[in-house]
């Protein structure tokens, strides 16, 4: 993402304001606003002024985060500017107000800059007639099969036709037929007959995603969105075009025809697939997640998210989710298991416990673990995950909460450097109890000898020496996870946890943005939110209490962790707060 669009404007110098009138109401608007692509100040447009005046101007091609092309003509308005006499001086009415010269031609509000004293008219008969004309034109070749269209309920054509259209069409000619169900790429289908040729999709992929993959072929009314022959529309951001498409022309192969959007329950959440922490909305129905869509946050992801993150929800509904509390392989209860574990921990000699937490856990959970760590004098760490980054959103850090793990003291700045210590401690028999949260540690374990060879040539700490053989030496292996893996199979105590969609909490993204997410669906079986049972455990082991609700827990943590000082659950709002990291 262009950094300009994501950095907050707090450091920008104050912008000169000018007065304009929108439908007779005078308002003050900044003379310039940042360009969506370059971030440079450009003249404020009429549509922006109207938005500030809370006067909606219907529009299709205009999108605040895309370059303006002015092709749909839906946003046409009438306007006037202060009249100038032959001496180029303003002319006044008898009552002393400036005389307004009404422009004989309309203007597209999405591209026309405002000027001092301008009057914008958005609801005159002339404007209404122009809108009707545009809508009529858009509808004449449109299939009008809303009943079977996936966009119904989210369709701007449907919506504006009701609000601004005329009831009957005069069109009696044969409609233009265009390709339907066109496979544009691995995740996107196009219905060219539904397309209103606003070019949002083209501009997005070219100017935002940096992949000039879409274009228009043919001419005039036969214009059709297309890819280059043999070059599918396949970058990591293609699904954003589905959100951008004002009609049902572009659909997500993953979601199309799954269900009517009005049946979806919407929950504010975050993407956990990388350290960027894109804000999302989880669409769910009957405790099943149906889709993720991006939620606008200019400090993080703007209105976009990547395809990989968007589609990474299916594991949450997997059948093999851990649903039972197991003690040495036998089904148990939370009370029994937690009591047994807390007894063990209370009696553990200082230094005999180690904790490997996950940077996929929430700030609150990591902080609770840090309380255990302090009480037990435990060594702790977490496991780094890295991968390719890109220029727009995707971070090289594949953990959603690396900074949370650091700020709560679970790991050092360089995550993973304590793992050697833990491995050695187990090998030497000093560490008898290992608590593992959300990490299949065996997966990245290599034998100590091999690891030592490797560390002389690289500093990569993604790998560690905590192998299955070492784990076999422990008295107690306490594991909490969501899906089964080699480590959960070795656990003496297995505590089934929750996906983020099944609980509440906060993450701290790569830039120090502390953001909260809400619960969308119920966890399966006996699975419980980690913060809840960790709270119980911490209480039983340390006696600390007083934060049995998420709000209370967060606020207590914020008071305790220096980086979070001054934060409160309520003050995080929907889009979070940035802290010093």
């Amino acid at each position: 993402m262009s950094t300009a669009a994501l950095t907050e404007t707090k450091s920008a110098p104050p912008v000169e304001k000018i007065k304009v009138k929108v439908d007779g109401r005078e308002i003050e608007v900044p003379k310039t606003m940042p360009d969506p692509i370059s971030g440079k100040p450009v003249p404020t447009t009429m549509i922006q002024a109207c938005e500030i005046a809370k006067q909606e101007v219907p529009h299709y091609c205009y999108h605040p985060k895309l370059p303006v092309v002015g092709n749909c003509r839906m946003c046409l308005v009438e306007y006037g500017t202060p009249a100038l006499g032959p001496d180029r001086k303003p002319v006044f009415n008898p009552d002393g107000t400036p005389k307004i010269a009404k422009s004989p031609r309309p203007a597209i509000s999405c591209a026309t800059p405002i000027s001092p004293g301008m009057e914008i008219y958005t609801s005159t008969p002339g404007v209404k007639q122009m809108r009707e004309g545009v809508l009529e034109s858009l509808l004449i070749n449109h299939p009008l099969d809303c009943t079977i269209c996936d966009q119904a309920g989210e369709c701007k054509l449907q919506e504006y036709s009701v609000d601004h259209g005329q009831s009957a069409s005069r069109f009696v000619e044969a409609k233009v037929h265009k390709p339907k169900a066109v496979d544009l790429g691995p995740r996107i289908m196009l219905d060219a007959e539904r397309c209103i040729l606003c070019t949002r999709c083209i501009r997005f992929t070219k100017d935002i995603a940096g992949d000039d993959a879409l274009g228009i072929i043919n001419r005039g009314s036969f214009n059709t969105i297309a890819t280059f022959p043999g070059m599918p529309f396949d970058n990591n951001y293609t699904l954003n075009t589905v959100d951008l498409c004002p009609v049902g022309a572009l659909t997500s192969k993953d979601f199309r025809f799954k269900m009517r959007v009005w049946f979806l329950k919407e929950t504010k959440s975050l993407c956990t697939s990388c350290g960027t922490g894109c804000n999302t909305v989880i669409g769910s129905r009957e405790e099943k997640i149906q889709r993720y869509t991006p939620r606008e946050n200019d400090a993080v992801n703007g209105p976009w998210m990547c395809d990989a993150g968007r589609l990474n929800y299916k594991w949450i509904g997997r059948d093999d989710r851990l649903k039972n509390v197991l003690v040495r392989g036998q089904k148990s209860t939370w009370t029994a298991a937690l009591t047994e574990i807390s007894e063990k921990l209370k009696n553990a000699p200082a230094g005999s416990v180690a904790i490997i937490a996950s940077a996929r856990q929430t700030n609150e959970e990591l902080w609770l673990l840090s309380k255990l760590k302090a009480k037990l004098g435990a060594v702790s760490d977490s496991i780094a995950r890295s991968g390719a980054e890109d220029k727009l959103l995707v971070s090289e850090d594949k953990n959603p909460n690396t900074n949370g793990a650091r700020l709560t003291g679970i790991c050092y700045t360089e995550m993973g450097i304590n793992l050697v210590k833990i491995a050695d401690g187990i090998a030497q028999g000093k560490i008898k109890t290992l608590i593992v949260f959300g990490e299949n540690i065996i997966q990245r374990a290599v034998s100590n000898e091999k690891l030592r060879e490797r560390e002389t040539i690289s500093e990569v700490v993604d790998e560690h020496g905590i192998t299955a053989e070492l784990l076999a030496k422990l008295d107690a292996l306490i594991v909490s996870d969501i899906l089964p893996n080699e480590t959960t199979r070795l656990a003496h105590y297995l505590l089934p946890g929750c996906a983020h969609a099944e609980k509440r909490g906060t993450f701290t993204n790569v830039n120090g943005r502390v953001q909260k997410f809400m619960k969308a669906v119920e966890a399966p079986g006996d699975a419980r939110a980690e913060w809840e049972f960790l709270h119980d455990l911490v209480f039983q082991v340390t006696g600390q209490n007083g934060f049995a609700t998420m709000e209370g827990l967060f606020n207590t943590m914020a008071a305790d962790v220096p980086a979070f000082k001054g934060l409160a659950w309520a003050s995080l709002g929907d889009t979070g707060v940035t802290v010093e990291i």
């Binding site: 034109s137 040729l197 228009i216 001419r219 005039g220």
Partner: protein
């Protein structure tokens, strides 16, 4: 009596005149350029100094030259809008896309006297500190492109292009760029997009005024072939002398393309406003009248997008009487002086100065159907009203000319057309496709209604006819 006045076409059709540079030089070619490059700064009475380029710009302003591409915009004023402080290069583009139906004047120049255009362009470039210029030529004009490329090669060889032109220290490169055959590439911002290698989608103005954000987002001048040739003559004779040609505010000459039902279709260069439409049609020096036994039905005065005139139509034109007072004079369509302002006052335009004459053998509905089909095919499809409206009108007219009309189609057509022009679209194509429909239907409504009504009557009769005799419905578009 109206006369031809050959300024631009002085040599083009002269026997033995060839398009090569030697011939051009023998006829005094590039002398004006040499003179201009040698101009010294001129001190003005108010103490200011005009550089050589500024002096040329001043002459162009004084000449009153108006664009010959269609809009008739003042060339001097257009040049004055150029952003000269941006620090970016300034480009000049010659619009040689000539594709308005009925227009065939630019190609005469390009085919027969290409160096006149090249010299006019070099002068215009020098006047505007341009160091790179393009001739954007319509894709179909393969021969023209060859001739122009040859001309550029010759000019380069003679040192009129390239580095340090004629020892002046001024550098200029020039290229021919062929379009791929789309009418909309003649619209200047569509042209610029095409030249940049993109689809010729005209740009929104604001903010993309070519004079500020044109080719590659740099200040750019776009002028028609004929306009640029005129610059050569302005520099040669001086702006004031040029302004003596033609009529006030309509200075110089224009090459009129005359086509349709006349005896002598062809191109005729006249002093602007010094011949009437009637003279251009009937005078033996021009069209030589209609075919025997025919009467005039309609005239499209400025290329197919201009609003049609009906034979016998009268207009009230403002004129100054002997004492200089403004009076309204009733003027017959045929008596309209062929200039920018009179045709605009009569509700149409001189456009690309192409007159299309239709006599009484013309089926006016067919004629409009033909025009509309062209515009439906050529709409770039960017703006909703033009994209959908142009095809809608064409489909309606196709139906009406294929036995499927309705008496109400005349009104239906006007309603569709009314949704397109007047600033509702990005470029003036919106007007170009709707004005013919609006004007044809307004002026010949009875013919549209009659055709539709006849179709309705016939269909009613057929519906009543015994089964098995029903004809197939006319084909749809």
């Amino acid at each position: 009596m109206a006369q031809e006045y050959k300024l631009i076409l002085k040599h083009a059709d002269a026997p033995g005149y060839t398009p090569d540079i030697e011939c051009y030089l023998r006829h005094g070619g590039y002398a004006t350029l040499r003179k201009a490059l040698a101009l010294t700064p001129k001190n003005l009475a108010d103490g200011k100094t005009l550089s050589a380029p500024e002096q040329i710009r001043e002459e162009v302003k004084v000449s009153g030259l108006r664009g010959r591409g269609g809009a008739g915009f003042s060339c001097g004023l257009k040049w004055s809008f150029v952003d000269r402080k941006s620090g970016k290069p300034i480009y000049l583009i010659c619009n040689a896309d000539e594709s308005e139906p009925g227009t065939f004047k630019d190609r005469q120049i390009m085919h027969k006297d290409p160096h006149q255009l090249v010299e006019g362009m070099i002068l215009s470039c020098f006047a505007n500190d341009v160091h790179l210029a393009y001739i954007y030529i319509r894709g179909e004009m393969v021969e023209g492109a060859k001739i122009l490329n040859q001309a550029l090669k010759e000019a380069r060889a003679k040192g009129f292009l390239g580095k340090n032109i004629s020892g002046s220290g001024y550098d200029l490169e020039m290229h021919v760029h062929r379009g791929a055959g789309a009418y909309i590439c003649g619209e200047e911002t569509g042209l610029i997009e095409s030249l940049e290698g993109k689809r010729p989608y005209p740009r929104i103005k604001p903010p993309y005024f070519p004079a500020v954000l044109g080719l590659w987002m740099c200040p750019t001048i776009v002028n028609n072939v004929e306009t640029l040739c005129n610059v050569k003559h302005i520099v040669e004779m001086g702006g004031a002398a040029f302004a003596q040609l033609g009529t006030p505010n309509n200075t110089g000459t224009r090459i009129v393309s005359l086509s349709g039902h006349v005896q002598r279709p062809g191109y005729y260069e006249i002093e602007i406003g010094k011949a009437t439409i009637g003279e251009l049609i009937h005078d033996p020096k021009f069209g030589g009248g209609l075919r025997p036994g025919r009467t005039l039905k309609a005239v499209i005065p400025g290329g197919s997008s201009a609003k049609v005139f009906k034979a016998g139509e009268k207009f009230k034109l403002k004129k100054k009487d002997a004492e200089g007072k403004e009076i309204l004079v009733e003027t017959d369509m045929l008596d309209l002086p062929y200039d920018f302002d009179s045709l605009a006052a009569a509700g149409s335009m001189s456009g690309s100065s192409a007159i299309i004459v239709m006599d009484d053998s013309t089926d006016i509905v067919e004629a409009l159907a033909n025009i509309s089909e062209f515009y439906a095919h050529e709409s770039c499809g960017q703006c909703t009203p033009c994209r959908e409206g142009s095809l809608w009108m064409s489909k309606t007219l196709h139906r009406l000319t294929h036995g499927e009309g309705r008496a109400g189609d005349a009104d239906y057509l006007v309603k569709i057309a009314d949704n397109i022009p007047g600033g509702r679209t990005i470029c003036a194509f919106g007007e170009a496709c709707s004005w013919p429909v609006q004007s044809f239907v307004a002026k010949f409504k009875d013919e549209f209604v009659a055709k539709g009504a006849a179709d309705e009557a016939r269909r009613a009769q057929q519906a009543a006819a015994p089964a098995g005799q029903k004809p197939l419905a006319a084909a749809h578009h």
